[in-house]
Subunit: 234 residues, 2 copies
DNA sequence: TCGACGACCAGTATCTTTTTCATCGTCGCG
DNA sequence: CGCGACGATGAAAAAGATACTGGTCGTCGA
């Protein structure tokens, strides 16, 4: 039995959605504003979150971002008509899918099913290995705050640790420099762009076998960097 | 074989509709008022419901709302004049399409087919095909920011990447030079017009098997360029 | 208080990308 | 057939991005 949280401030709509989903056999909870939605996400172990973009209190974007930091729950955004799709699905928010309002219930249910189905496959060992992210020969333990490369524990300063965590969370994705800085430095940071380079370099020194020819942290010119788990590049 | 229910109180019209649809190979039932329509919907497993808005007894709006609660059947509304389209298609009623009376049969049949087709496809969901755009032997992965031509990864600078993405998004369309420049350079660009040529050339070098005789990026004299997925041209 | 260390910044080196320029080819039209 | 406009091409200058080095500052623990 899958649990779904609907975060939506228009009560009738929220209830309509809940009703439709319950009819499909899901267990549905409703949160009428962002704050509550966020709290409920943290407590209840939901399998999927339906999130309105426009919310009183904390808006959907913020909730989604926070959610992404702390968990892997799939998120479907409910957006107004022509929202910026790239932003919603992209790194910025990282939703799994979106439905534009007004939508019909059938479509919504279809999306929910699709996302859950898709997610089922992805759910590998992440539940088992609480807090440890692995990729190839690198393992990052959030609890112990410790990194192992090829089995060896590697000392790692905070910034590099954060950076590596970011990379490990999005393997294979080209992460824009700007994204990396705002994430590592928590939003409001106006430092020199070169600072990132330095941290990347030092991270490479620790993580790469041959820092001069990185196999893991690939630079994507004009964009940022991309982390490869396996070791393919060139 | 698809089953369709027609809910319409004017018998001659209902029968005319039924006749036209049966001619197209659908199996059609008729309900002459709202109550009956509602009951038949609940029992018979219809693939689509044609619903008159004005009905004796329970009117079409009510039937539609109830229907929406309980099932996924696509609904096409038959409305008088220009009713409130937004309401009909929106959350309020959640119909899939509507046809204004008087209508001609051909149009109605077309709508029926369209809705059924659309519904069919919806099951799959477009979420799966996110991120990578493919066309013939070219694949562009936006997440990885990587391009493959005939399976091989090809290094590609930012501008060319953008350009290629534009082409891939509008295959078969002649894209005016001006459009390309404004899109790639994000609006405000006042460089030489020749710049585009150069980028196109380099893109061809990477994408075409024989850059001297391009099969993909065709120049359209006096207009701009056209991208062909397959390889037909000349 | 000192020293070690991490974070950050600036400058330079190096390389890539972008733009420009000059020339040549070709297509369409009269 | 020749002209003129437009596009293709090659080379090189200009701009831009990243890698690396070294150094300053502040913090924290000895």
């Amino acid at each position: 039995m899958k649990k779904i949280l609907v975060v939506e401030d228009e009560r009738p709509l929220a209830e309509a959605v809940a009703f439709s989903l319950e009819k499909e056999g899901y267990q549905v909870d409703i949160a009428l504003d962002g704050e509550r939605g966020w709290r409920m996400c943290q407590q209840g172990a939901y399998h999927l979150v339906l999130l309105d973009l426009m919310l009183p209190g904390m808006d959907g974007m913020e909730v989604c971002r926070r959610l992404r930091r702390e968990s892997d729950v799939p998120v479907i955004m409910l957006t107004a008509k022509d929202a910026d799709v790239d932003k919603i699905l992209g790194l910025e928010m990282g939703a799994d899918d979106y439905v534009t309002k007004p939508f019909n219930m059938r479509e919504l249910v279809a999306r929910v099913k699709a996302v859950l189905r898709r997610y089922q496959g992805e759910e590998k060992g992440k539940a088992a290995s609480e807090g440890v992210i692995e990729a190839g020969d690198i393992a990052l333990d959030r609890e112990r705050h410790e990194v192992r490369v090829r089995g060896e524990v590697v000392e790692m300063p905070l910034m590099e640790f954060r950076l590596l965590e970011l990379f490990l969370r999005h393997p294979g994705k080209a992460l824009p420099r700007e994204y990396l800085t705002t994430q590592v430095w928590e939003g409001d940071y106006f430092g020199q762009s070169k600072t990132l380079d330095v941290h990347v370099r030092r991270l490479r020194e620790k993580v790469e076998e041959d820092p001069a020819h990185p196999r893991h942290i690939i630079t994507v010119r004009g964009v940022g960097y991309r982390f490869e788990a396996g070791g393919e590049s060139s």
